[in-house]
Symmetry: none
Subunit: 91 residues, 3 copies
């Protein structure tokens, strides 16, 4: 009887280990996926404010291209959040 | 009797190991997610002060775009905090 | 009888360990694959807004080349997402 319990426990242990490794991976996935776009978005808006100061009359074109670039970089981090959810909450 | 105790201990160990791995992942998630926006926000305001010094009359436009860029980059780090809470406090 | 069950359980354990490590790798794969393009896309659009402000009449050519460069950098992250799916969902 005890042996059966021990066997079931051993099976549960390995499931826990696998789940823990998947959760470690899910944290790394979002963290790393946010790192790059965080720097990239900073570069985009940094150059945009610099450009507006140099040529105020181009502010409209600069601002619209900066927001498009922001959206495209941000998408990478949001896909990273999807990866986090898939790794943490799906089998 | 001893065997029953050992079995219970083994079960608790694997739960602890899984929790530890998830907590390692949660720390890495926020840490990495804060790293990128930290650099990016620095670039935004660094370029903004430089731009205002070069063209003081554009200070209003530069400042508003710098704050918009800051909010968008900061959001990535705040999502990283949400990931940390989900990994640490939910099953 | 017990030995047979224990053997089956041991086999299941190693499958779980392998699966967990694959999930850890899948998270790292997408995270790292998004890191670089996140920075790269920021540099592309940052330089593009700067170029448009300096020579507004070249805005069309600048914008189309910026989008081509974006698509080529983004492709790397999307391949990273394919790697994530292959590691997590295929044997």
């Amino acid at each position: 009887m005890h042996n059966v319990v021990a066997t079931v426990i051993a099976a549960a242990s390995s499931v826990n280990l696998r789940k823990g490794l998947a959760e470690l991976g899910s944290g790394l996935a979002y963290g790393l996926a946010a790192l790059g776009p965080g720097i990239g978005i900073g570069i985009i808006f940094g150059q945009a404010v610099s450009a507006i100061a140099r040529q105020p009359e181009t502010a409209g074109a600069v601002r619209s291209l900066a927001f498009i670039g922001f959206a495209l970089a941000e998408a990478l981090a949001l896909i990273g959040f999807v990866v986090f959810v898939l790794l943490k909450y799906t089998g």
